[in-house]
């Protein structure tokens, strides 16, 4: 039975205890500052520290396996505002792009359904990084390998929940059986809808179902999630077919070009054959 997490973003307060718990349990170092130029700013800016938001890292990375996204929605006359939070991590997709892409079997799914990068097998080819439709898995310069959330593989195989769920003070992050969590999510959506909120669950159908799924009260894009994520390997058959057809075309062109000699050769050629 797959284990997973349900993130009810409506009761997240943005306290970031999950970020801290994740770093502590997994022994992740601080994010190194990467400075770069921002258009319109004359001085270099550390682009992985936002500086203009309570959202401090801006994205997931090889050392930030959990990231609390702060969405500040302010209307035009600046009278109404709404703050949305969403604690993001690896979704442990049922059809995982990173796992499909891995050429070394370093990325594996365990019996509990979580997707884990085996650090002693990964060669750091970086193919999994663009293969993740959520931009989760990242390359670590420190270890030379790909790294991401393991769903606290060591904890969950010893009967504990994930560190982030344990630390969450509001119950926004729930760890458990995916089937149970879905029931809880459906109940919560029904409750919110009865109050007139436009709540929706994100992660039932995406990538054949996400083991870590979310309750959103706005579009997925607002929370920094793709609206229609596509597992990239689903294009493989079509790409291969088109490439094979082209190869056949080139082969035919070569064949015609080099066959010409048979027609073009002088009489002796025919006598010989």
């Amino acid at each position: 039975m797959p284990k997973g997490m349900f993130i009810d973003t409506t009761i997240c307060t943005g306290c970031k205890s999950c970020q801290v718990a994740c770093k502590q349990w997994n022994g992740l170092s601080a994010e190194p500052a990467h400075f770069g130029r921002k258009p319109g700013v004359s001085y270099p800016v550390a682009h992985n520290f936002t500086g203009d938001s309570y959202d401090n890292t801006g994205s997931l990375s090889a050392t930030d396996w959990r990231h609390v996204r702060f969405v500040e929605q302010i209307d035009e006359p600046r009278t109404q505002k709404r703050w949305l939070f969403s604690s993001d991590s690896c979704k442990h997709c049922t059809d995982a792009g990173c796992l499909n892409a891995c050429p070394t079997k370093a990325i594996q799914r365990t019996d509990l359904g979580n997707v884990v990068v085996q650090q002693d097998t990964c060669i750091g080819c970086k193919f999994c990084i663009p293969s993740c439709p959520y931009g989760v898995i990242s390359f670590s310069e420190e270890t030379g390998t790909a790294r991401k959330c393991t769903l606290c593989n060591d904890r969950i195989h010893n009967g504990l929940g994930t560190a982030c769920a344990k630390a969450c003070p509001t119950g926004s992050i729930r760890f458990g059986e995916v089937a149970d969590l879905r029931k809880r999510a459906d109940a919560r959506v029904a409750q919110l809808k009865s109050k007139g909120e436009k709540a929706q669950v994100y992660g039932y159908d995406e990538a054949d179902g996400l083991n870590v799924f979310y309750l959103f009260v706005d579009g997925p894009k607002v929370y920094g999630q793709p609206e229609h994520p596509i597992v990239p390997q689903r294009r493989l058959v079509l790409c291969s077919l088109v490439t094979i057809l082209t190869a056949l075309g080139i082969g035919a062109a070569a064949l015609v070009s080099f066959r010409e000699r048979l027609n073009g050769t002088s009489e002796e050629g025919r006598h010989e054959s």
Partner: protein, 300 residues
């Protein structure tokens, strides 16, 4: 916050784009040569001989950039053997995994063809090898090698297409096709340069190679246009500065259009040796800049 959250692999262009180009050229040359070997009359074989002399030496360069770009280069063998259990590993869903294995097969075929030609040209002699020397194994590895060659030329494009990066995803499924065609074109140019160097660039065979290359380069232009239409807004990096010079000038104008114009013109009138040499070099440079542009445009 930008919805385009998909991370770039940050493959170094000086490793990976150069690998794409070298492997594409080697594979292109090899499958052109083997096509002549398999379907030609067998009396003239300058092109297939040149192809065999080009393919393997170029391939010897390939492991260096591929391994150097890994985060843990010393573990490159994990591509072939699952290190936790020790059995060979192949992931059919991963172009990188299949590509590694086919690269191995292709290298073996290219090496055998290379040795074969060295023996046939009496540059080296293995008494045993020479005694049993005949055309049957040559055709055997020509068949396997040409299939592997087509694969090597094309899979790099498929590999880019089956990622979630916007530009690479939007150009699906044409990148593999474009890379095969470009590989054929740069392979033909490499063969022609080799023949010029050996002073054997005359006769019907070379004309047939030129005719083939004209078809291929027209196909390349068509595919490139289709690819850019499909890419739409995701191709935005291609109209920013380094790419305007690299892609539009280097690849499209000087790498394809000018050499193609030159090839079509040179059917009617003869040019001197220097422009001929130069236009092959332009084709090769254009092929290299094409790989760099398409790799980097997907990573920006």
């Amino acid at each position: 916050m930008s919805p385009e959250i998909i991370q770039a692999p940050e493959w170094a262009w000086y490793y990976i784009a150069i690998y794409f180009f070298v492997a594409g050229t080697s594979a292109g040359a090899y499958f052109i040569g083997t096509m002549e070997e398999l379907f030609g009359s067998g009396r003239e074989r300058e092109v297939s001989r040149a192809a065999c002399y080009i393919a393997f030496p170029l391939l010897t360069l390939v492991p260096i950039p591929l391994i150097a770009d890994l985060g843990r280069p010393e573990r490159f063998w994990h591509l072939f053997v699952y290190n936790q259990a020790g059995y060979p590993y192949l992931n059919l869903q991963s172009p990188m995994s299949v590509g590694s294995w086919v690269l191995l097969v292709f290298s073996v075929c290219a090496l055998l063809s290379f040795l074969d030609n060295l023996v046939a040209d009496k540059i080296i002699s293995f008494p045993l090898f020479s005694r049993y020397y005949n055309r049957i194994p040559r055709k055997l590895y020509a068949v396997i090698g040409s299939l592997a060659g087509f694969f090597i030329a094309g899979y790099t494009g498929v590999l880019l297409n089956v990622t979630a990066r916007p530009f690479w995803a939007a150009t699906s499924p044409l990148m593999g096709a474009l890379f095969i065609v470009s590989g054929a074109s740069t392979g033909a140019a490499a063969i022609s340069l080799f023949l010029i160097w050996r002073k054997r660039n005359s006769g019907g065979e070379v004309e047939r190679l030129e005719a083939f290359d004209r078809v291929v380069m027209v196909a390349e232009l068509v595919l490139l246009a289709a690819l850019l239409v499909m890419a739409g807004r995701t191709a935005a990096p291609l109209v920013s500065l380094p790419f305007i010079v690299m892609f539009w000038m280097g690849t499209v104008v000087f790498g394809i259009v000018v050499p193609l114009w030159f090839k079509i013109r040179s059917r009617a009138e003869r040019f001197g040796a220097n422009p001929v040499l130069a236009h092959y070099l332009f084709i090769l440079l254009g092929g290299l800049l094409l790989r760099i542009s398409l790799l980097q445009a997907g990573q920006l």
